[in-house]
């Protein structure tokens, strides 16, 4: 199957157009992450006042973890919200009867999600630097890039699963767009190490790629080097999740093509 870059860029442009005139929409991209950063940042300032070295290290983890979590969340949202945008505007049929292939559409949502993530990460990194003297790049160096890539990849996989659920269940599945990432959150060892979880939950947690990203991030803070073990596990699991999510999305699409749901998306 060949994908057309022209059609992918057409859809990418379609999502960019949404920001051209709508200031609230553009601000919304950064509003929630910035609010979160402010809350965590002030907590961090408060904790710093205790002047304990362990607290100080924990503080760095917290801001770093918050920024990383947001990358995953926005990457997933980038895919699903773009998809839902077409359902809301009743444009799905126009797209599906055009030469656009479903994987070209999905690819454009990946790109759009990635762009949003880059913008948010930059904004948060700059704000954290000036408000809380937290240097994201300085704290973990260029190792930030492969870790961020893992989060993006997992966000895309989760985005495909939530989009697949939207195709299958329509508007009634909309709550899942915001809810599914929070199912993953407590099991991803974001704000605390894996050991904190009860043993049965640790088993589940070890099956989620984000756990290795956040554990890896903590290891970098502790030792200053990236333990390849974490990266390899995150990558391997991500590849599995990506393939499974693609398969799930394709299955939902073909099921909807059989039941007639595809032609009713946005009209129900």
């Amino acid at each position: 199957m060949t994908l057309s870059l022209k059609r992918i860029s057409a859809m990418f442009l379609r999502y960019l157009y949404l920001h051209k005139r709508s200031l609230p929409r553009t601000l919304e991209v950064i509003f929630w992450p910035v609010m979160e950063l402010l809350v965590w940042g002030f907590l961090v300032m408060y904790l710093r006042s205790f002047e304990l070295s362990t607290v100080s290290t924990a503080v760095v983890f917290l801001i770093n973890a918050m920024i990383f979590w947001d990358i995953l969340y926005r990457s997933q949202q980038g895919v699903t919200i773009s998809f839902v945008e077409e359902i809301w505007t009743q444009n799905v049929i126009n797209l599906l009867v055009s030469p656009l292939k479903i994987w070209e559409w999905i690819a454009s949502t990946f790109l759009y999600g990635m762009l949003k993530t880059i913008v948010i990460t930059c904004v948060l990194a700059i704000l954290a630097y000036f408000l809380y003297a937290f240097d994201l790049v300085g704290s973990i160096g260029l190792l930030v890039i492969p870790l961020v890539f893992q989060l993006l990849l997992f966000g895309w996989a989760v985005g495909m699963i939530t989009s697949g659920l939207m195709i299958r269940f329509g508007h009634s599945a909309e709550a899942l767009i915001w809810g599914v990432p929070y199912l993953i959150m407590p099991l991803s060892a974001i704000y605390y190490p894996l050991d904190v979880l009860p043993v049965p939950l640790q088993v589940i947690s070890r099956c989620i790629p984000t756990t290795y990203v956040f554990e890896g991030m903590r290891a970098i803070h502790r030792t200053g080097t990236m333990e390849m073990n974490y990266f390899v596990w995150a990558m391997a699991l991500n590849l599995i999740y990506f393939v499974v999510a693609s398969f799930f999305f394709a299955t939902m699409y073909h099921h909807a093509q059989k039941t007639g749901r595809l032609g009713k998306l946005g009209l129900d």
């Binding site: 055009s98 030469p99 093509q257």
Partner: protein, 241 residues
């Protein structure tokens, strides 16, 4: 001449519900075929099968002698679709909408093409306006302008005048007929307005409960049902008289 569409013996079940029953249809180049029937007759199901949005339970479909389920993208380059029940993104302007679809259809010299179509459909003055701010008539014209971006050989129009007042509907019909004549387009047309169908369609096919009840030119169908107009035929068919 190679038909644009050949659908043979299509049956479609939604679970246990029979939506189309042994439905066949063909459209030749330059022909306007009216697909008629009451609500729930199976018209939309048929159109969705023809464009590859829905898989039939049984039967075969060929569009430009290609399979709409495996060669959908190639087929889509040569046809276009408009429905009163779908909308172009209301939060994009008229020219942004046209620009996106021109890119999706890989239209060469798309700026000139868009300008010409906006001009043809009297939409130039709305080009910077959001599609959502257009009236129903203007939106219908925008949909039709989008439909002609790729110079299609085949148009599928699902109740294109459904939301228009009689004067606007008449204007759209006249526009469509002139374009169809000029470009020798094949059109599949659905409408509940039987007067419109008599005016526009060269051949009609009535379906009811998913089954074809009458096929022919409007004149042939009138003779077959000994009726004065298609509205009478429609009522007779639906009431089973």
């Amino acid at each position: 001449m190679q038909p644009l569409i050949t659908a043979s013996n299509i049956t479609k079940y939604y679970d246990q519900t029979l939506a189309l029953d042994d439905f066949s249809l063909s459209i030749q180049p330059g022909e306007i075929v009216g697909l008629l029937g009451p609500n729930g007759a199976g018209k939309t199901t048929a159109i969705h099968i023809l464009v590859g949005l829905l898989t039939p339970t049984q039967g075969t479909v060929r569009v430009f002698d290609m399979d709409p389920f495996t060669q959908r993208s190639d087929i889509a380059m040569r046809l276009n679709f408009s429905s009163a029940y779908t909308s172009l993104p209301t939060n994009l302007t008229v020219s942004e909408n046209m620009n996106i679809f021109a890119r999706l259809y890989n239209v060469q010299n798309h700026k000139e093409k868009i300008n010409a179509l906006l001009d043809e459909f009297d939409l130039t003055r709305f080009r910077k306006q959001l599609a959502g701010a257009l009236s129903s008539g203007e939106r219908t014209r925008l949909n039709l302008a989008k439909c002609l971006l790729n110079d299609p050989q085949l148009l599928l129009l699902d109740e294109p005048t459904a939301s228009l007042d009689p004067e606007k509907a008449e204007m759209i019909r006249a526009k469509l007929l002139s374009i169809q004549k000029k470009r020798q387009l094949g059109i599949l047309y659905t409408s509940h307005n039987m007067h419109e169908v008599e005016q526009v369609c060269s051949r009609i096919q009535f379906i009811h409960h998913g089954k074809t009840r009458a096929v022919g030119t409007p004149a042939e169908v009138l003779i077959q049902f000994q009726s004065k107009n298609l509205e009478e035929v429609f009522i007779k068919l639906v009431r089973g008289e």
